[in-house]
Amino acid sequence: MKILALNGSVRKYGNTEILLKQALMGAEAEGAEVEHLKLTDYEIGPCQGCGLCLFRENVCQVKDNTHVIFEKVEAADGVILGAPCYFLELTAIVKQLIDRTWIVGHNKIGKPPKPASVIVPYATRGWIPYIFMQANILFNTMCLTKINQAAICTQGISEVVMDEGAIALADRMGREIVEAVRTQDLHYRGEEGVCPRCHDKLLRVLQDRETIECPTCGVRGKLYIVNGKIDVRFEEEAWKGCRFNLDVSYNHYTYHIAPSKDYFLRTKDERKKRSQKYREYLEK
């Protein structure tokens, strides 16, 4: 059994690395083979938006190391993502990786889910609203099922070693991943959010001011106030529309993306004519 830690921090021996390594120590103690992969050691270029991964299966024109990361995730039985939060969300390299995962989507059909967890060290309480959303997107696009998440309040480099509770939690999360692989029990073990699928607490209010949506899953529900507390309810039927369901993501690709090729070709001459002035503007 192999457990892979993806580290989204540039810092060497920083809090992210310490927490991830502690999680790997826990996994190793449970008998797993472990690997620590620093995303920043790899060249992960920005998605060029060329559409090749969408219009030709498994082709990406960006020549860098991203495929190595995808191969390592593919080969692993469980994944632990770690990344610091510097400004409300995770580091840019995680988003860069998310944008490149379209190529993974082609191979989703028939893949069994694997367990994953995320650990995020951060400095100031209240400055972390989007950290789990990014992790959820990455996990969903890579066929990983989140079984736990942790935000760890710590600040200076390596200071997290002073927090015995955080170290113990990371250790437990590493052991949990191994247990989940062994038992194939991928139930969520972390603190519950408002969305029962991604377990996040983020909600989007739609324009009708009646409907709310989990912005990650794209599932709609309603808000109620019960005994002075906000209660969020999603109809059972609404889960069929979750954007990460296999059929929904298949339909998105098949009916929203692939046919755009026809539209693109049909508008070719007119587009060329209208866009000419932008090609010339400020270019001389």
């Binding site: 529309g241 059929d247 298949y250 009916y255 929203h256 046919p259 090729k261 026809d262 539209y263």
Partner: protein, 119 residues
């Protein structure tokens, strides 16, 4: 020829609820517009999923439900589009109004910005 004509192309999974001809008739009658409906179904069951190859097909030929609305009065036409968006949400893609006339397309496109049901 009618002043306003729009083709709302709903692809698989786009409408919020099932599109039924009787509901369309009611909405058309309420707003004094002509509404017609066409369903194109080309999906086949493979690997437990209803699948279709759409990459090299014409947009008009892939599986979809097309709601065509025709009217001469701008206000009635706009209100009808609003009612359809409220019930089904608007279509989603840049090419989802293909085949409309320019006056109808413009209204339907602008209403997507204000009451699409997606935002």
């Amino acid at each position: 020829m009618a002043n306003y004509m729009v083709k709302l192309r709903y692809y698989v999974g786009d409408p919020l609820v099932d599109i039924k001809i009787e509901d369309l008739k009611k909405i058309g009658k309420q707003y004094g517009t002509d509404i017609s409906y066409e369903k194109i179904e080309n999906r086949e069951m493979k690997n437990g999923l209803l699948m279709e190859e759409t990459m090299n097909k014409r947009i008009e030929d892939i599986s979809q439900e097309v709601v065509t609305v025709v009217g001469d009065d701008e206000k009635k036409f706009s209100d009808c589009i609003r009612a359809l968006y409220k019930k089904y949400r608007s279509p989603r893609t840049a090419y989802s109004l293909m085949g409309s006339n320019e006056t109808g397309r413009k209204i339907a496109w602008e209403l997507m910005e204000v009451c699409s049901g997606w935002e």
